[in-house]
């Protein structure tokens, strides 16, 4: 006695959110049945394992048929095959595009290519996210990347419109796309302590301030790439460390302002030149794609680690960077105030985000 065929189709497509999540998480049908039993769905209503299996199979089939539509969410709204209420559509899409932070952390900044896809089984083993789920998430990244790559206009808004995602999720995707496009290195050991959300916040800063779109949001290749002109201008900041007088003057201005306001004053004073050189050097090298990739590792090595070893508090960092930025304005011979602000604004925010006490 084998059940040869078993289907259940509702006029309004019936979808159980818990099963959907299990499906998204890459559970096999049998595992999902087990998980549901463990969750106690059987006690809730009088049913047996066969019923559960049949239901799970049905739902899995439905999801598989829906998957094609979920990959271009705009179609979901005006397709005719499944009658799904709009807010349920929103839920389906949002969940389909949701990702595991542990997984995304592994691929962040990597090229979204076949090569990376081949490594997914390793990532799956490492993160404990099922391979199936890894593939879905990776394909989502890739798909979003491919679509927005060719679009004008603000990145987040484009993602939101094309994939009908919530604002939060759209921002995360923007970060992923941005990182993938610029190939920022995030995998080094020194960066391991940073979460995806840290990077996403940093990406938000970079997108909002350092891209072409940040200045003129209808420019051709908008938000995904850093503003080349700006990077070129950053070279001018070199003067802050190359000119010894300027460096000393900057130091004294900062020290005057800081004196007595922090316990770490001694370390600040001692490290000023080193830290300043670090930050300015990062700025001047950003014309190099290679150095762009190392942006975060440089920040950690050149600034965050020295501060951390001196046990600066977050407040110390904030105080220091504020005065460091502002004091440059008072420096007479320094003419690149606008560039300096655009640069330091982002650096400051990124360091705040990345500096964990």
């Amino acid at each position: 006695m084998a059940v040869e065929l078993d289907v259940f189709v509702g006029n309004t497509t019936i979808m159980d959110e818990e099963v959907y999540q299990l499906w998204l998480d890459g559970y096999t049908v049998n595992d999902a049945v087990k998980a549901r039993m463990d969750a106690g769905v059987l006690e809730e209503c009088e049913a047996d394992a066969d019923v559960l299996l049949s239901d799970t199979m049905d739902q899995y089939r439905t999801f598989q048929m829906c998957e094609r539509l979920l990959q271009s969410p705009a179609k979901l709204a005006n397709q005719l095959l499944f009658q799904i209420t709009p807010h349920r559509q929103v839920m389906l899409i949002e969940r389909y595009y949701a990702f595991d932070d542990t997984f995304v952390r592994e691929v962040l900044g990597k090229k979204l290519s076949k090569g990376t896809k081949k490594d997914l089984d390793d990532i799956s083993a490492k993160t404990g996210v099922t391979l199936k789920s890894c593939r879905r998430q990776f394909d989502n990244f890739k798909r979003v990347f491919k679509v927005v790559e060719e679009l004008k206009g603000p990145l987040v808004e484009n993602i939101r419109q094309h994939f009908l995602l919530s604002d939060k999720l759209a921002r995360d995707y923007a970060a992923i796309v941005f990182f993938a496009n610029n190939r920022f290195e995030t995998g080094k050991k020194k960066l391991q302590y940073l979460t995806f959300q840290d990077f996403a916040l940093c990406a938000g800063q970079l997108i909002n301030n350092w891209t072409v779109g940040a200045v003129d949001n209808m420019v051709e290749d908008m938000d995904v790439d850093l503003d080349k002109e700006f990077l070129q201008e950053l070279k001018e900041l070199k003067i802050l460390i190359a000119d010894k007088d300027l460096l000393d003057q900057h130091k004294s201005l900062v020290c005057t302002a800081l004196r007595g306001k922090t316990k770490a004053f001694a370390e600040m004073e001692a490290n000023f030149k080193n830290l300043s050189r670090g930050l300015v050097n990062i700025a001047t090298k950003l014309t190099n794609t290679k150095d762009v990739r190392d942006f975060f590792i440089d920040l950690v090595e050149k600034f965050i680690e020295p501060c951390r070893s001196d046990r600066w508090t977050a407040a110390d960092i904030k105080l220091y960077l504020t005065h460091y930025t502002n004091s440059a304005h008072i420096l007479d011979p320094f003419k690149h105030q606008a560039v300096w602000d655009r640069y330091m604004g982002v650096i400051k925010s990124c360091i705040f985000i990345m500096y964990h006490d």
Binding site: V7, V9, N11, S54, L76, A77, Q83, R88
Partner: protein, 1081 residues
Amino acid sequence: MPGKLKAKIVAGRHLPVMDRASDLTDAFVEVKFGNTTFKTDVFPKSLNPQWNSEWFKFEVDDEDLQDEPLQITVLDHDTYSANDAIGKVYIDIDPLLCTEAASVISGWFPIYDTIHGIRGEINVLVKVELFNDLNRFRQSSCGVKFFCTTSIPRGYRAAMVHGFLEELVVNEDPEYQWIDRIRTPRASNEARQRLISLMSGELQRKIGLKVLEMGGNAVVGYLQCFDLEGESGLVVRAIGTACTLEKLTSGSLASAHTHPNTAPASNACNSPSKDGKEPVFGEDLPSSSGPPTPFRALPTSSSSPPPFSPCKPCSRQSSSSDTDLSLTPKTGMGSGGSAGKEAGPLKTLLRQQTQTALEQREFPFFTLTSFPPGFLVHVGGVVSARSVKLLDRIHNPDEPETRDAWWEEIRQEIKSHAKALGCHAVVGYSENTSICEEVCILSASGTAAILNHRYMREGCLDIGSTDQRFEDPSPPSCGFCHIPYDELNMPFPAQLTYCYNCRRQKVPDVLFTTIDLPAEAAVTGKGCLIQARLCRLKKKAQGEVNATVISNLLPFMEYELHTQLMNKLKLRSMNALFGLHIQISVGENMLLGLASATGVYLTALPAPGGIQIAGKTTGDMSNEQHILTIQKRINDTIARNKELYQINPPELTEEGVGSPIPEPRHRSRLFRSHSESSDEVSELDLSHGKKDAFVLEIDDTDAVEDIHSLLTDASPPAGFHSCNTETMPGIYNWTTAVQMFTSVRVLRLSNANLSNQSLNKIFTDLCENLLKSFYFKLRSMVPCCLCHLNFNVAVPEEELIQVSVTAVAMTFDKDQTQERPAERFITKGGSETDEQLQFSLELCADSSSTNSQPSSRISGTVSLFTPAAKLCQSQLVVVHSTGVPENTIVSSRAASVDYGSFADRCSTWLELLRLKAHTIRRGSVKTISSLEHCSPLTEGRSRSVRSSRSFGGSPVTMVKMTPLSFLPGTRNIKYLGIINMFFIRETTSLREEGGVSGFLHSFIAEVFAMVRAHVAALGGNAVVSYSMKDCVLMENPNKNQAQCLINVSGDAVIYVRETDQEPTASMTNMGQSLCAADGAT
């Protein structure tokens, strides 16, 4: 005559990629009607082409307009090779031919391909201009409205019910034509779809013609079926009930001038009836046992207007000939008076009047299952007939006499059965077939009934004044239960008692019907779905031998099914079945029988006795012990069911209440085998009527199995109810959340040599598990009722059992389930039903229709299988009618319950139920809150919802579907026309599509989508009376192939919430339906 059909192709979207190189498509469209074809320009390199074509105009006969569908083919242009077809859309333009229905078809249609399924959508506009007065032309029947709904559609009233309609057309199945041995399956399937579309158009037109001939303007309860007879051809047949419907306008009665036929009738009828009748009747009563002709008693009616006049002269003659033909009415006459009841003679008289009127018709059948109040006077019981036929090639498709004759024969049988029950009409009538190879079982069933003569005699009545006068004085809540046949001359043995409601008339102990529970019926407690399931193995055989084997098996199956139904009914402590549908399906090596019905406790009928188990030998101690345990289990189950279904009949301080379960020593032994022969009818000894309980004897293992299977039926889990009728007695406060679903399950019997018993078990489990699955899947809708559960069984091939179910889950407001909100109920129905009361039947009968009667009937037609068929006939009456007294003995108090404590338990149980439902709800709290979170009202997500709309163009209209004739909490404000669609889907990559389940799952979803799209294009937002009439699946997993045919139908409507005053604009309306649908998901 001529009409102009105009079609415009606007745009396409989501087209498939047809050119791999560019990942795009160069699409164009061919629009074909009849033999004329137009083409759009090629819209190059786009998956969302904008053709925006001119209006393509077809000048055609309206006959063609009715027969032909508009064919739209989307193709991919290819410069060098043949153009590739992307897919097709067939649009039935019939709804446009009716002024009251849709005026334009406009919307997105799924582009369908038999191999690939839905491949994108196309936006089309269709209009029709008709040139002249339609009624003058006999070949077409434009303007006749069709309804699948088996009641008077809401918003209409029946000015006339003309009667039974039937028609069939046959053709050769393209699948089996020689050309198909060389052409691809795809081409032949497309040819089939086209042909069937054409045939059903033709069929509708022909039915429409018959309606016009009868003077009607609509077909209600239209039921169309396909018989795929394989080599011997393709039959499309339909039955229905011809009516003259008038649209109810608020305030005023339907305008008379629109129906010139009926209007004078009503006028002329009205006045004389008022002043003339009563006295006449009063005088006539005593002498009415003579041979009355209907119109003698009613002198005033001689002035009857046109619709009635033709039949008047002949009615007199046939009323006398009629008594010659049938036994019961004659004897009924004589004994009517002797019953000593005041109503007796009156009843008899009325019956004869209506009878003669109805018997003028060839078949006094009605496909309706529910009626305006007062229409149904008495119900006799179920009548059914089956016949086994050998299919032969249809040689001349233009004259399908054979098939016609077959059905004619069956209908005659039904008619005579009804007559035997003392009834002159059959309501809730339906027909179906089961075909395996060259053997075909034709079945027909219905409920014998007596209809109110008032509706037959007069066109339109003023109800207020005439209501009480001619009716027998039985109250509406129990009147229909009163026996229509004569007590002393019963057509079959039954146990009669005085009605427990009015105490004036006799009622049977059990009542089986195929109709819906009348709205006014008094019911105790709630109802539930009751099913009898049966498998019978048979030897494989060919041709006539096979047919003989099958016809020999049929009576036994009928009997077994009936016994099961009866047992299960008693086990639930109920006494009536409604919506009984018995399906017998034939396969190569087995027969499947499935009987579904909704059991209820009719207050008017006596309480059913318990079930008593009897052992084989009383001396055997262990056996005795065993029996005792079973007996206990049964008693417990009965007690539990009484609580579950809240069956708590009022106490009766009455004579002859009863002897409880008898002492074991005095158990009467009954043998099931002897109960069914009609010969014994006359020998029945009514005097030993008060036998104590329903006795089951355990005399062999079969019987043990039977009893076990009886007890294995699980009752629905807390919060759920189920029925196969339109609504559930005892539940009145429906919310608007509905979820229609279709489920199909196929079981492969791996073990080749199964016994009947184990097969039964497997089949029973299959059905039970399906129900369990539904309860589980729909658990979020609790408290809810599965209504109109329609099971369909088939044996697609050897060792496969297929069960397909379509039903609707409806939630209700549980807090008020206890009391029936009487005032609301009445006011709700009031406006419509009041007017529907003015319901009438046309007396018009064909004088030439000579009712050639039983005796001669069989001999000529049935040839070889006559004996078997006859056996069936004679037994069927007995099997399905109101009682089988050998087994059924009324004891009103068999398993008596202490009602005081019962009430307590009842309330605690309810409490428990409430709690349970609450926890279940709590289980899903998470999802609810998340839903609220992203509901369009909250700010964050609303933008994305909006943007999704703006991005994708217009959102899709939500279309509700239901097998019921209504959506709870709504009004159908407009019927847009009938939906009748036939699809074939095939695949040669079964594995890749997720196996046969994946294949069928997507096909069913596609069928739903296409139905919804057509409804939306007509401007509708719901399909009512939806049904899936065929789902024929063939698979060959070894070849990686499968094929499926699905036929669905329903009525497209526009509904509004009951609270809304006027048709809302589509947007707000949609918003509401969305909310409702949310509840359902």
